[in-house]
């Protein structure tokens, strides 16, 4: 009897295993073109893409899109493995943070010619297009922008009535809003992702316009940046929780969600989490304050968009899908759901965006001619490792008082200067 049960179970498993994984072949036999699309931030965005794919397939009955959601934390490794194994998708979600790595492996198809003939030509935000082109040595458009983000400071309206304009006001507010033992004016991101945030804060304070000077030397250790970092590190444990030294963004957002922290620097992307935790009316956002000069300086966030892969056998269908995703309606829908800035300029004027205070602030700041945008060197192949594995532990030392801000910024600047020199040599610049 036992043996019979065992054999029956084995037979069931065998049946399930034979049905696992192989292509159903839908589309091939019916004359449809099937393209695969990898979402570089699979999960919460999956239903948004499923809706857009439904709309696209209804408008293009001859094309079937197969969606694959890739978890954000592993997307680079997934692309690298797929490129090495020659099994890339037709279309992939890509950001400028790893665009240089993908183009370095000759994996992507430039979209300049397609865009020139497209209905969305002239309707995509110029700063985003420029940011993409600056990321690669040949200046081509390997990524069609779909969205961008901006760093803001989220705050609780019941604790802070008037958003600060300058960093001096900000430091004063952080101090005033701290009520020991468990209420804090601010929270510092001391763990994963800390460097990008501190860079954004330093440049908005110092107003330094470029990451490198004319001789290729990094401006990260500019005296004004050092001054700012010294002030910010001084907040640690005084006006922030002690646990901040290991804060990555989920911990930071969760801590802000408890209502014990008045202000938190993150970006527009965490809006839905704050609404869930506090309700729409209780949260506000302001752009990073200005430094002593009064000029607004913004460090450009990575641009997120779509790329057609070189190995694609259906490049025209793939481009059609990309074009659809960045068209007015699709781009507007996508960004409304995620709470980010649309790349499509027509979508930027939509009424839903005007009704969201934080997004309107971001769009107005970025479109303000007086705003100075500093582009980080995403094109450097080592940029990610320098700003993560190499220097995040050092930043923690600064917070803990084990390293001086000047020493930390000198180290970071040296690494960036060396990487820039190497890149210039490699690209003949």
């Amino acid at each position: 009897m036992k043996m019979k049960v065992a054999w029956a179970a084995l037979a069931v498993l065998a049946v399930t295993a034979t049905g696992c994984g192989s292509d159903s072949g839908s589309g091939e036999g019916s004359g449809k073109t099937t393209i695969t699309f990898w979402d570089n931030n699979g999960g919460t965005r999956t239903p948004i893409y499923q809706e857009l794919i439904k709309r696209f397939e209804a408008a293009n009955p001859s094309i079937h899109v197969e969606y694959v959601g890739v978890p954000i934390a592993s997307v680079q490794q997934k692309y690298d493995t797929a490129i090495a194994g020659g099994d890339t998708p037709d279309v992939g979600g890509v950001t400028t943070s790893y665009l240089a790595n993908l183009t370095g492996q000759q994996a992507l198809e430039p979209a300049d010619e397609w865009l020139a003939k497209s209905s969305v030509n002239g309707k995509l935000a110029t700063p985003m297009l420029d940011s993409v082109r600056k990321t690669v040595p040949d200046g081509k458009l390997y990524l069609v922008p779909g969205t961008s983000n901006m760093d803001v400071v989220w705050y609780l309206k019941d604790k802070l009535q008037q958003a600060p304009n300058t960093w001096d006001e900000f430091f004063k507010d952080a101090d005033d809003l701290t009520k020991k033992p468990d209420e804090y004016g601010y929270t510092i991101r001391g763990g994963a992702g800390s460097i990008f945030q501190i860079l954004a804060e330093m440049y908005s304070y110092s107003g330094v316009p470029e990451f490198f000077d004319a001789s290729g030397k990094s401006t990260v250790n500019d005296p004004k940046n050092v001054e700012f970092l010294t002030k910010m590190a001084g907040l640690y444990k005084k006006d922030t929780p002690e646990a901040d030294v290991t804060n990555d963004f989920p911990k930071m957002v969760a801590a802000f969600g408890t209502g014990k922290i008045a202000m938190m620097h993150h970006n527009l992307g965490s809006y839905n989490d704050h609404v869930k935790a506090h309700g729409k009316d209780k949260i506000g956002a302001f752009a990073l304050p200005t430094g002593p000069g009064g000029k607004r300086t913004v460090v450009a966030n990575p641009v997120d968009g779509f790329a057609v892969f070189k190995n694609s056998e259906h490049k025209d269908a793939a481009w059609k899908f990309v074009e659809f995703l960045v068209s007015h309606d699709s781009n507007s829908y996508w960004n409304q759901q995620t709470g980010q800035i649309p790349a499509n300029t027509e979508a930027q004027g939509d009424s839903w965006l005007q009704g969201l205070e934080h997004l309107k602030t971001a769009v107005d700041t970025l479109n303000d001619p007086n705003t100075q945008v500093v582009s980080p060197p995403y094109y450097l192949p080592q940029f990610s490792s320098i700003t993560k594995a190499d220097t995040e532990p050092l930043f923690q030392k600064v917070l803990l008082g084990q390293m001086k801000p000047q020493e930390f910024l000198d180290t970071l600047a040296q690494k960036l200067t060396d990487a820039q020199a190497e890149w210039k040599k490699a690209t003949g610049g």
Binding site: A17, N41, G42, T44, T46, P47, V68, G69, F249, K276
Partner: protein, 292 residues
């Protein structure tokens, strides 16, 4: 000192267990139960928090999950797709368990019962494979599976996980088989059994703790394997639980309720497997580990 001992009246002989129950030993409580209790709290608090996040409504900061909500479980099961991921994980886990156990028994028997040239070296090579991280083998394995047409199929995960489970499983199983005296098998053969029949009738029944140890090790390792599940599969309906779990942390936002609910769903089978097999597992691993 010795005088004290001499004048002390003899205690009445009572069974040892009864005496232990009656005597209150504060030192024993301090030495044994306090550290054990602390360790238990240290181990269980994260699980408690996982349950709290999974069962309390979004936005709540209450340390007690009340009122209880199952909305996060609905999110992970229906919206994130755990229904499909769970089924895939079961298929991959069970097949990997079966293949690993059967092959480990065969390999372990050969290593235990036969003396052949290169046996020692083979054991060393098996051990050395444990030092190779899975990430290093990704691209070669990807190319092999691609040429075999196994990419995007659960079969690739079953094969890869079985291969990575085997070295330790074979070593463990060989230790187990060595613990069964060969003379018993010989006696069966003298009585007319073939070697295979003798193995089935005499050795296999005594390997139950080993089979359970190796099987559960293979299942749990496969169940938790994220890397292969993500890299060898690029079809939404072929992903497994660990990939689904990572969906709950996005680039800019994290759904802690869904993450915790997903963690509960992911941990439940592993906890159940442990609960059922733990008495065999401890014996199994220790017995397999000390025999050469």
């Amino acid at each position: 000192m010795s005088a004290d001992v001499m004048i002390r009246p003899r205690t009445r002989a009572v069974p040892a267990g009864t005496r232990r129950r009656k005597r209150h030993d504060p030192g024993r409580v301090l030495r044994l139960y306090v550290p054990l209790g602390m360790y238990l709290v240290f181990t269980l608090v994260p699980f408690y928090w996982m349950l709290v996040f999974a069962l309390r409504p979004a936005g709540s900061t209450d340390p007690v999950p009340w009122p209880i909500t199952f909305e996060h479980f609905e999110t992970v099961w229906n919206d994130i797709g755990y229904a499909v991921f769970f089924k895939n994980s079961v298929i991959v886990g069970v097949w990997s368990l079966l293949f690993t156990t059967v092959i480990a028994v065969m390999g372990g028997y050969a290593l235990s019962r036969y003396r052949f040239r290169g046996r020692g070296l083979f054991m060393v090579v098996l051990l050395c494979t444990q030092f190779i991280p899975g990430a290093m083998m990704l691209i070669p394995l990807f190319s092999i599976f691609k040429s075999l047409g196994l990419i995007n199929s659960l079969a690739s995960l079953i094969v890869a996980d079985t291969v990575f489970n085997l070295p330790l499983s074979i070593i463990l199983m060989s230790g187990f088989i060595s613990a069964v005296p060969f003379t018993v098998e010989e006696a069966a053969m003298v009585d007319g059994c073939t070697r295979f029949r003798g193995f089935l009738a005499i050795v296999l029944p005594q390997l139950r703790p080993g089979l359970i140890a190796v099987g559960s090790f293979a299942f749990i390792h496969t169940w938790n394997n994220f890397l292969f599940a993500l890299m060898f599969v690029s079809k939404q309906d072929s992903f497994t639980i660990p990939v689904g779990l990572s969906y709950t942390i996005g680039e800019y936002s994290a759904d802690f309720g869904a993450l915790a609910a997903g963690g509960v769903v992911a941990a439940l089978p592993v906890v159940c497997v442990f609960a059922v097999v733990q008495r065999y597992l401890v014996h199994g691993i220790s017995a397999g580990a000390v025999k050469g």
